[in-house]
């Protein structure tokens, strides 16, 4: 039984509206449960979709990311029967340009590179163009009102289909049980992120770094390749927990 978002269409109505437009949508595909459920819901509604993953850490293979994330994405590519395009996440540029976890000698190199700091909207504009989609192509995500009071308020205030930013949330009114059920029906196991963190990987704090350090040492080393002082996050936590 979906939740009701005040003043907003139901998610079947949203998916029907996307279907009626008769053109593909992009899916912001983290690889997490909500993204998987959103993609499945679009497939059910007959909305053609293209999956795009925004990676946080460049992997050892150019254009790819950490091995445990790649493992999940590759598995999902097979199960969903389509490729997942990989682009850098805007946060990666923001972290680098803000010298997050960077030792002093790297700061000058980063500054010399004069990387951009694209916004999320910038990034999707570039991705639409790069994949040859019209500029007004919808970007679907798995954001749900039941996730938090803030997200619910955001839907009420800004809408579930945002005509200006072209963001749409096709499972906005789903509850967690509906997400789980749809994924289980499809027989898709959740990526290893859920065993490690209980959610998909999206940050450089202790919640993520500690399990990666304990279970995927090479990925942890790769994170330190890009953010060498992230090791201090574990050091800090261990000091606090002594």
């Amino acid at each position: 039984m979906p939740t009701i978002i005040k003043g907003q269409p139901t998610s079947p109505e949203i998916r029907a509206a996307l279907k009626a437009e008769g053109r593909p949508v992009l899916v912001a595909f983290s690889g997490g449960k909500d993204a998987i459920a959103a993609e499945l819901a679009l497939q059910d509604a007959g909305v053609p979709s293209t999956l795009v993953h925004l990676y946080f850490i460049p992997g050892r293979q150019p254009g790819h990311t950490l091995s445990f994330v790649e493992q999940g994405l590759t598995d999902l590519e097979q199960r969903l029967g389509k490729p997942i395009h990989r682009y850098p996440h805007p946060s990666l540029y923001r972290w680098l340009n803000n010298f997050v976890y960077q030792p002093p000698e790297r700061c000058e190199v980063i500054e010399a590179a004069r990387l951009p700091t694209p916004t999320y909207e910038d990034m999707w504009r570039y991705i639409r163009a790069d994949l040859g989609f019209p500029a007004d192509t919808w970007v679907a995500d798995g954001v749900r009102a039941a996730d938090s009071i803030v997200r619910r308020a955001s839907f009420v205030r800004h809408g579930v289909m945002k005509p200006t930013s072209r963001k749409v949330s096709p499972i906005a009114d789903w509850l967690i049980a509906e997400v789980r059920e749809r994924i289980a029906t499809a027989g898709i196991p959740l990526p290893v992120d859920y065993a490690l963190f209980g959610r998909s990987f999206d940050g450089l704090d202790y919640r993520f770094l500690k399990p990666i350090h304990d279970h995927y040492l090479d990925d942890y080393a790769r994170i330190l390749d890009w953010f060498p002082l992230a090791d201090l996050e574990l050091f800090r936590a261990e000091m606090e927990n002594r």
């Binding site: 460049p58 150019p62 254009g63 395009h85 990989r86 682009y87 850098p88 680098l96 340009n97 010298f99 002093p104 000698e105 790297r106 700061c107 000058e108 190199v109 980063i110 500054e111 010399a112 590179a113 004069r114 990387l115 951009p116 700091t117 694209p118 910038d122 990034m123 504009r125 570039y126 991705i127 163009a129 790069d130 390749d225």
Partner: protein, 120 residues
């Protein structure tokens, strides 16, 4: 496609004042680092081009580390002198005289001056 023509890299941040690497590293004589993305060969494919930029940035880190290691070695290496020993003061003075080095000194001699005196 050049970097400045690429959609993503068209709005690169430039020293925006305030927090800069020069401030962080405390260097008083600031020698700018070379742009690590100068030699990126852009293809026009955003997935490929962004990956190439990150590869080049990583190489920039490695180059910076190597340059720093070389600089440190130059700054701290003390093996730039040698000593020649004789059995007496007379032998030493005679040696310096025979080679025409006495005007340069009799104990500490700049290497480049000795080399010039010996036509090396």
């Amino acid at each position: 496609m050049t970097r400045d023509a690429s959609a993503l890299t068209g709005r690169r941040t430039v020293g925006t004042g305030g927090r800069t690497a020069a401030n962080l590293t405390g260097r008083t004589k600031y020698t700018p680092e070379p742009d690590p993305l100068t030699d990126v060969d852009y293809t026009g494919d955003l997935q490929e081009d962004t990956a190439r930029e990150f590869t080049a940035l990583e190489q920039g880190y490695r180059d910076r580390a190597k340059n720093e290691a070389d600089r440190f070695k130059r700054a701290t290496d003390s093996e730039y002198w040698f000593a020649v020993c004789f059995t007496s003061r007379e032998e030493k003075n005679a040696f310096l005289d025979r080679l025409g080095l006495t005007p340069i000194g009799d104990k500490y001699l700049p290497g480049d001056a000795v080399a010039a005196a010996l036509n090396l």
